[in-house]
């Protein structure tokens, strides 16, 4: 798997002990020969400190010189699955990353299919980081199973968000139920199917016409509702302190409202951007996002996702940032199934056997 959880500092590749090809920190299998790498995975904790660049990281995860904590776990993760790529980052102001992403590239009966799910834990709820990761992984495993069986993406998306809602609701054990926003995109050669609750977004970035770029989702937020009711302009709503009050989410207290599912048929080549508000807060306009992401997003989606994440951090990184990019149409056959994070595959396999 290419899925990696690398700290911000550039990491050196090590070598697969079986075939000698380069492997990357966080890889559990060699990309080239498929050999298991678990035992040889480089220990990130012993690398040089990415802050002072002089000290070594101690075994308890702090730099032996400057004392800074090693970026770990979900602080910064990158995944490149070929058909699509994503980056999620804690940002500069939050203590942890409450965003989560789950990605899959699969050779479905109908052709290569890319799936991206992005969830943003609601900070005011309990354990938002757990809510977002649970939602993303649960939905991805359902979408992946459906894609392999050639199921209709719209039907599958509705089932996936339903499963994610049930899984997040099951986390609740007190009054302040864990909750998260949700957006998924299933990209095939023929169409883009998006499904969402809350204010995480999907955009179409058109390779031909900048003006054809558009948001594929509409937020479940107070701001969006006021705009659609004609009470505020989009600019006024964005500036209002209530712009971020979400009116839809997944969780035990999410209510009955139905999720949104919509299918978009792209007019030509382009890319699908799936992101949390940590990105679009700094640039909500589709055309301007397209200017930033294209043309890199068409061929090097990881590079483009890194650039968009870097843009959000440069603007202040006030929130967690998650960016997934899917070039359209899904280019080459996906070959074997590739997923991020790694354990989703086991989950999906178990599910399939059970079905």
């Amino acid at each position: 798997m290419t899925a990696g959880e690398a700290p911000r500092a550039p990491q050196e590749a090590s070598i697969c002990p079986s075939c000698g090809q380069p492997v990357w920190p966080g890889d559990t299998f060699c990309e080239a020969c498929g050999a298991g790498l678990a035992a040889t995975a480089p220990a990130v904790a012993r690398a040089a400190c990415s802050y002072c660049h002089t000290g070594k990281m101690g075994q308890d995860g702090y730099c032996e010189s400057c004392g800074r904590k090693a970026p770990s776990g979900r602080d910064h993760c990158e995944a490149d699955l070929g058909l699509l790529a994503g980056v999620t980052d804690r940002g500069l102001r939050h203590i942890r990353n409450e965003d989560a992403m789950a990605l899959a590239a699969v050779q479905a009966p109908g052709g290569a299919t890319a799936i991206a799910v992005v969830c943003d834990g609601v900070s005011e709820s309990a354990r938002p980081d757990q809510a977002s990761l649970t939602a993303a992984k649960t939905a991805l495993s359902v979408l992946l199973s459906a894609a392999r069986q050639g199921a209709d993406p719209a039907v599958a998306s509705a089932r996936a968000i339903e499963a994610a809602q049930a899984a997040v609701a099951a986390l609740a054990d007190g009054p302040n139920a864990p909750s998260a926003t949700f957006v998924s995109a299933v990209v095939t050669a023929g169409a883009v199917t998006v499904c969402w609750r809350g204010d995480s977004r999907a955009y179409w970035l058109d390779a031909g016409e900048l003006s054809a770029a558009q948001a594929l989702t509409t937020d479940d937020s107070l701001a969006a509702e006021m705009v659609s009711a004609g009470l505020l302009s989009e600019a006024e709503a964005m500036a209002s302190p209530q712009a971020h009050v979400v009116t839809g989410w997944l969780g035990a207290d999410a209510g009955e409202a139905a999720p949104h599912v919509s299918t978009f048929v792209p007019p030509g080549p382009g890319a699908v951007l799936v992101c949390s508000d940590g990105l679009w807060n700094y640039q909500p306009e589709a055309a301007k996002l397209a200017m930033r992401a294209l043309p890199a997003a068409l061929r090097e989606p990881l590079h483009a996702a890194q650039a968009l994440t870097g843009f959000a951090l440069a603007r202040g990184g006030h929130d967690n940032v998650t960016v997934a990019l899917v070039p359209f149409p899904p280019a080459s056959p996906a070959g074997q199934v590739r997923v991020y994070p790694d354990d989703v595959l086991d989950h999906a396999a178990v599910k399939e056997m059970g079905e």
Partner: protein, 427 residues
């Protein structure tokens, strides 16, 4: 890391506001139960008792009589196999038992012989405590035992040597043995004995009436016999560019260890904690100043280890996380707050009594009033009771007090010596 079972717990609010530099933590250390420390055989322990035999000990005669009885009571508590000696102190120091100096292993016969020798102690001569300490040191060094403890009893001021002679003697003894100091009567100086007990990691207290000596000596010796391992230090690692503002023992008594640091690595220093008994619990207040990192960043502000030589017996982490969430950064850790108050309580008492001695009644009233309020607030009832013998309390909550016109010297000295005793948090 060796498995010696010392537990180290850290209590702190790790959240700092943007730009925050000061990190405070209370580090609670608990030694393991009896037996699990290992190596604490009687053969590894040594005891020296220093008895003041200056002329004033004969006035009244009951003082020397009680001192002999107290020393005998302490000798009775010494475990079989522990090496011990008794020294008589005047302007010189003389070996009383064993008569030719050195240490001898305790057994029924040697205890009997020692008590006979002690019963012959006679008052006469001056007081040069530095001499006593030097002989105690030489006596300890004649024997390989590592758990070294001494008791020092005096009734007067250190009149027959210069203060710097005493300081030089303390320097020569530091780190070699621990020493509990007792003053009998009210003609001795609290500050003088505190200087010794602080540097030699012991206690200081007043025994106002010589009749109380025997019980006190027996209790002190009992406590010393419970020690299992000596030479334990608190090692504090801090990040590059950070500084240790202070390291204080906070319970059972306040002892400022900041100046006792010896560098043990490029970014680490050791602070002495002396000997530990079984299941003994002490709290330390560590304050570190760090270079602030950005919001959301985390830093290890200090790694606090309990070390014996190079063995790490236990370890705790003091962290700093910068946040723009005021609810987090303004949260007060109740342990830190409590011990900050207890340290201020001790300081207020000592400064208040000093001001009172100088005749500065206004400052004395303010300081002792503050002490009364802090003692009441923290539930330190023993200290509150002692304060009540020096001031009339009008309102404890606000610290409104009046200095008493007549104060018993013994009460004032008891308040001074016991001002550093803290209580643990109530919660």
């Amino acid at each position: 890391m060796s498995e010696t079972g010392f537990t180290v717990d850290v209590f702190q609010n790790e959240y700092l506001p943007e730009g925050g530099r000061e990190v405070n933590a209370i580090v609670t250390v608990l030694s393991p139960d009896t037996g699990s420390v290992g190596g604490a055989s009687s053969e590894d322990a040594a005891e020296v008792i220093m008895v003041d035999c200056s002329g004033s000990m004969g006035a009244p005669q009951t003082k020397i009589v009680q001192a002999r009885a107290a020393t005998a009571a302490a000798i009775d508590v010494i475990r079989d196999g522990v090496a011990f000696a008794v020294i008589a102190g005047t302007q010189y120091a003389t070996a009383v038992f064993p008569p030719n100096g050195g240490l001898v292993a305790a057994d029924p016969q040697t205890r009997q012989d020692a008590k006979r020798a002690v019963s012959g102690l006679q008052p006469g001569g001056g007081t040069a405590i530095g001499q006593w300490l030097r002989l105690a040191r030489d006596t300890f060094q004649s024997h390989p035992a590592t758990l070294r403890h001494a008791i020092l009893l005096t009734d007067g001021k250190n009149q027959h040597e210069k203060p710097r002679d005493l300081d030089a003697a303390i320097d020569a003894c530091e780190g070699l043995f621990s020493c509990d100091c007792r003053g009998v009567g009210t003609d001795w100086e609290v500050a003088e004995l505190r200087r010794i007990s602080t540097r030699l990691l012991g206690t200081v207290d007043i025994v106002p009436d010589a009749a109380g000596l025997a019980a006190d000596f027996a209790a002190m010796m009992e406590h010393a016999m419970g020690k299992q391992v000596a030479g334990i230090a608190l090692r504090v690692w801090t990040p590059q560019s950070a500084t240790v503002k202070f390291v204080k023992q906070a319970a059972p008594t306040v002892e400022d260890l900041t100046g006792r640091r010896t560098q043990s690595g490029p970014q680490a220093g050791d602070y002495p904690t002396g000997a530990w008994g079984a299941a003994e619990s002490r709290d330390y207040h560590v304050c570190v100043q760090v270079t602030p990192a950005g919001i959301g960043q985390e830093m290890l502000a200090a790694r606090v280890s309990l070390v014996s030589g190079q063995d790490i017996l236990g370890q705790g982490l003091v962290r700093a996380i910068w946040t723009d969430d005021e609810a987090l950064s303004t949260r007060i850790d109740w342990q830190v707050a409590h011990y900050t108050g207890q340290a201020e309580l001790a300081q207020s008492i000592q400064e208040g009594l000093e001001a009172r001695k100088r005749g500065d009644e206004e400052l004395a009233t303010a300081k002792l009033g503050r002490a009364v309020a802090l003692a009441a607030e923290s539930g330190n009832e023993d200290t509150a009771k002692l304060l009540g013998k020096v001031v009339d309390v009008v309102d404890a909550a606000t610290g409104t007090v009046r200095l008493k016109k007549r104060v018993d010297d013994a009460d004032e000295m008891a308040l001074d010596t016991r001002s550093t005793r803290t209580v643990r948090t109530r919660k």
